[in-house]
Symmetry: C2
Subunit: 312 residues, 2 copies
């Protein structure tokens, strides 16, 4: 399928790259690497974002101009589902040549040319292979962006999704002289003061049940507001509960700042938490799932605990 | 130098492997990989530890028998300085053939045969290369141990010390089918309840000075005792301060549980903290240093802050 994609690119002068909305490191790194690759081929390439983007963008990819232009080819990047293009879905629909480059196993193959590799640890891996296929030299800047993409989606090469191929690509990227330690620091080790406050609150809320088999953190509406943390910073608090060595199920509870409901996350390495979430009206994977329950945090906590204890 | 080491090994029947005291993941992984390699060669190989070892050992390397035996060759692993062999230094000194395999740039070449590669990200990298040199097949168990060593010393392949070679070795290790995600989870994501309590205390103590240019965490004697955390769990709290995006200098203060003094750590990406520590009677590297000051935490804090503010 690289052949058809390379052909569609060769035939186009103007190309628009569309990351999914609320774009993450893999999506952004892949998009900005692809832009540089297309520019090497002499194309007029533009990355069009849904939102004026975050911290990571300005530090790792430089100043981003969120321009719009007429194009003959549009490429959706790391986007499993066309609705994740948000307001930009019309750009995609009205273009003659549509390309979909992704690694999500739920990808709906919504484009004319779909390149979906569910074994790739990150979309960045596919972008690297596309560069090799098209004989585009991996410059330091392209390597910087692809490394960001891959490290971001693999938790710095720690997750199960990381393969021998992932490590081999990282080896090649490092040969361009990128400052990978800096990238990893920006991705994983830099927090705003709001996020640090929120983490402190989560640690304070830490509780265990059933002899440490259940670990829980919770954030009230008031705490969420008081911390000043943005929505995107609310993620990951469940890892505090997950880190307890005796925990079989980790739970996070977060009271909505907008309505009378609580967002619940579940993680486990041994118990099917998809079933637990389903019983509570939610869903997800067997190791990571979630749901949302109406009520305040105290009452929801009792409902959730009752359900989890049943399955232990 | 691999040649002389291989020869010394070939000539011996009984070999003792000595990790440094307070052995870390790199040291232990390297030692237990080497033991398996020597056993493949038909040797009677023993790892002799200073302490009956920790959590990581039993989970990742299986039950450890800390046996002692007479040997013709002794190999110190990941040990920059002979004094780090602790009580076992006599075993080393009384052996005919002594080997020193390490990657610390301060290594004192104290053995008959020294293999010190300061460009190796971990001693585990050298052990891998030794296996290749000696044509010893990398079994899944050897790969498990070497991956543990390397991932442990590189912060899961995130640090500056990680090279293209490091990633290429990881790629080969993964091909044996090891569960690398599990190893990384054990190394980096599992905490005791005491450690989680201690982290909560550190987050609560979080303070900033000079418009967020200085970030500090502190643990009092009472908190250290109350948390129940072991000495080895006290490390890493400075990363909370270090993670603040505006911080130029991160500081950790920890009151001794034994005497009237405070242990201080400094980290920076832009300021020479070796100088700061030296002014306060300590030492270290330009990016990571430390010192110890007599007094209670409140008075020491003022001394430290004054010194740091001067250098901003």
């Amino acid at each position: 399928m690289f052949k058809e994609i390379a052909h569609a690119i060769a035939q186009s002068e103007n190309i628009t790259i569309l990351p999914h909305k609320s774009a993450d490191g893999d999506c952004l790194g892949s998009a900005f690497a692809l832009k540089l690759m297309l520019e090497y081929l002499g194309k007029n390439a533009v990355v069009q974002l849904e939102e004026v983007n975050t911290r990571i963008c300005s530090i790792l990819f430089g100043t981003i101009q969120n321009t719009q232009h007429t194009c003959e080819t549009v490429i959706a990047v790391d986007c499993g589902d066309i609705s994740r293009l948000g307001k930009r879905v019309d750009i995609f629909k009205h273009c003659q040549n549509t390309i979909n480059i992704d690694h999500h196993d739920t990808n709906e193959r919504y484009a004319k040319y779909n390149y979906v590799d569910v074994n790739a640890a990150a979309t960045g891996e596919i972008i690297f292979e596309l560069a090799e296929y098209m004989n585009i030299p991996i410059t330091q800047q392209i390597a910087n962006n692809i490394y960001t993409a891959i490290s971001s989606d693999t938790g710095c090469f720690s997750y199960n999704s990381t393969t021998s191929k992932t490590y081999r690509i990282a080896a090649k990227l490092l040969e361009t002289g990128i400052n990978h330690a800096f990238i990893n620091e920006v991705l994983f080790e830099r927090n705003s003061i709001s996020k640090i406050k929120l983490m402190g609150m989560a640690y304070n809320s830490f509780e265990t049940f059933q002899d440490g088999k259940i670990a829980m953190v919770s954030i009230t509406k008031q705490q969420a507001l008081q911390s000043g943390a943005e929505e995107e910073e609310m993620g990951g608090l469940i890892n505090i509960a997950r880190s307890l060595d005796t925990a079989q199920v980790a739970i996070s509870l977060r009271e909505s700042t907008k309505e009378n409901s609580v967002k619940i996350g579940f993680r486990s390495n041994s118990i099917n938490v998809a079933e637990i979430a389903a019983e509570l009206g939610g869903g997800g994977h067997i190791r990571a799932s979630g749901c949302s329950i109406k009520g305040d945090i105290a009452s929801v906590k009792q409902i959730v605990l009752k359900q989890v204890i049943k399955t232990l």
